[in-house]
Symmetry: C2
């Protein structure tokens, strides 16, 4: 099965981001607005059990994390992805690092740039237009997330939550 | 915020059901295939905290639950909803009852008929056709679910998991 690990920002941010994703993000219907902390990886039903145990340990050792949304940006020219840039704090980088160590070791495909995708698979012109227009808005926002989620992907491409891990709780 | 509590069946069942929901269920894009245990209720950020505590206690006191899918059925003529009927075992009825007692007390809108929706909002003719054709297939299946999920609804109608509760675990 294909799994991934994400943070969900608050409903307030999710609703705001979705108002753009609806028009600009081809993955709009597949997953709610999120910050990917570990991108898609494969695990069998057997393999996922020790991984879940490890995720519990990591969550226990990690304090709730500040998400500091800074501005709109784009991965262009590498990828025509428009996103809200999140400050790469030590807390976030540490969590990302823990989720790519030990039995979770797997070299990430890209270097870790914490973000919430707003648009993707846009034409060159559309990408410039949308990015230009979004840059005129202020997206600065700070909030704290106290959990991460392990998701799996269904055959239709949608992601469903398998488990939730509360940060800094001895039992979760 | 609007919350709900569901069980997700296995990926195998979710994929099978989605192949029909894609065509016949207008809520296809809003939520993965599920068994609703507590339908939509409202709670503020403050109100949800003791509810989550209560859900932890209920999960701790509940053993993993057998989902026994029996056959295709319909709520017609009350509602033109086609669904997979799940055996209303004592385990399921007990969980439903616990999720409607104490601070979770709220009279359910309908009597509890555990099910996974396959189609809804179909025309009269379409409803008969789809139901007739699905009735010729065998959907019998048994599996065990070891968790339930607390979801919240975004403004666009989609449901996101807020928390996951493992059944029968002292700490979850």
């Amino acid at each position: 099965m294909k799994y991934g690990i994400v943070l969900f920002p608050s409903k307030e941010i999710q609703d705001a981001v979705n108002s753009y994703r609806k028009r600009y993000d081809t993955n709009y219907a597949l997953i709610a607005p999120h910050v990917t902390i570990k991108s898609a990886f494969f695990a069998t039903d057997e393999e996922i059990k020790p991984i879940v145990q490890e995720l519990h340990k990591i969550a226990e050792d990690t304090q709730p994390i500040k998400l500091n949304i800074q501005k709109v940006s784009s991965f262009s020219p590498v990828n025509k992805v428009i996103y809200l840039k999140i400050e790469p704090t030590k807390q976030l980088l540490d969590l990302h690092s823990k989720l790519h160590s030990g039995i979770l070791d797997e070299k990430p495909e890209y270097s870790f740039v914490p973000h919430i995708t707003v648009g993707q698979n846009l034409s060159e012109d559309e990408h410039s237009d949308v990015l230009g227009s979004l840059k005129m808005r202020n997206f600065e926002h700070e909030e704290t997330v106290d959990r991460f989620h392990l998701l799996y992907q269904l055959e239709n491409g949608t992601w469903t939550v398998y488990d939730t891990f509360l940060l800094g709780k001895e039992c979760n």
